[in-house]
Amino acid sequence: MIRKIVISILTSKPIWIWGVTFSILWLILGVFVFSQGIPKEFYLYYAGVIVSALIVWVYTNLISNLSNNFILSSASLYYAFKFTKLTPKKYLLYYVASISIITLIISGIMLVLATLLFTMRFNTLIFPNNILGFLGIIVLSSIFIILFSVLLALVIPPKYLQLSSLIPQLLYFALVLGQIFVGYPYLITYTSPFNDMQLLLFQEYTGYNPPLSFVNPFQQFLNPDYLLVSLFSWDSVLYFLDVIFLGKIKPRNIEEARQF
């Protein structure tokens, strides 16, 4: 089942076109256009911001695509939970494992590309400070991705199908880009799972403590342990909610998704 889920998602064009290719374009811009005048001692720091933000962008697109898929398969899921061996817990576990593999593959591609391009641009090896920690955060993030996608799919009526794509992207722009370009208070930054993912990836990539805001990066810092606890808590709460909601899933009329 896991292998089939992985193949099914990895052969989905929107993820590669809108998620990965779009991120690679921004990576190229980040490496060759926006990096003018970066002092040598900030090469890794700069690369960390770009790579972490772009990887979370790919994740955001994964959430949109996955929740669309879940909405479209609500009748099959309802049937499967009633008349086959599949249980909501098993289903979530299959998906958590599958999405972990997918995020590791996609993040691996991004990481290799980023290493090649930044190393080429800065003439020095730019590589994650703690690769194992980086991969660990990817797995923890993938759990959030799948659980959040399922929740979105279960609470959004098919009539508003587009919201399942819009909500994750709006959250990404407001929270991740907002934190990078504007900055938010501690409470918002710690409790936002999107920021948790990006800042933890940044921390493992660079080895620096993430700042409260990238506008003034050396004034106030965040405690990575709190970010980790926050992301872990999101994963736990969402798992609990998803199991309950999946158990009560109802077949939904996809025709309602039509706008006219």
């Binding site: 089942m1 089939k4 889920i5 193949i7 099914s8 989905s12 898929n69 479209l72 398969s73 009748a75 099959s76 899921l77 309802y78 049937y79 499967a80 939970f81 009633k82 008349f83 086959t84 061996k85 599949l86 249980t87 077949p251």
Partner: protein, 260 residues
Amino acid sequence: MIKAINAYIGYSNNIPILRNINLEINDNSVLIGPNGSGKTTFLNAVLGFSKVLKGKLLVFGIEVSNLRNFLGITSNIVDVYKILSVKIKELVEIYAELYGVDKAEIFSTLRYFNFNSFDKKLHELSLGQQKIIGNSLALASNPKLALLDEPFENLDPTKRLKLIRMLTEFRKGKVILTSHEIDLVKKLKDWNLYLVFNGSIYGPFRASKINELYISKGKIENALFVINTNNGCFSITENQGDLPLSSIGDIENLEVMLND
């Protein structure tokens, strides 16, 4: 197997499509009736896709809403087999695993219907091929009860005959199917026949006795059933009447023929 007690069944609250249904089905049965009469709604109620608004509907002694991971009921509705967008070969493997059956059995049933598009996805198949997938998954998954909604629809004449042969030789469990084609149903000689008109279910009759059943316009004394439709009522009688039931061909023609 299935017991309905004063059951009102529909899709939205307070608008029943089937009204006051009282029946007990323990054998292979055909629900025959025109489009919109409520046949599919009844099968959907057994699967939980339509609601029991009032009364009771028991499946193997259990209320439909209480069924969870109940192995033994299968359906040919293609929408329930859309859990993942994968090739048919993989889809069969997934459902064999979920139903806990040998995938070879499903593959051999598909080959019996000359199906060989295993490398295509469900949405890439013609309606007839999709029907073959639904029928095969439902019949080859060791069901105690297979629910087949319009199983002959979109099949070519040869495959219809193959399906009839398979149904008449099917011994693993029981089958309930819906159809509006009397010509085909006549071939299922030792099956029970229920007529579905305008939200009511009449029967059972033995399909082997179909040649002895007649339909007459209006209310006739000693009729087996008087059936009310939007265009007036007609009676089902034995051995004499206006029109032999078996001569109708397609139940959709009934009202036209009676009004001629």
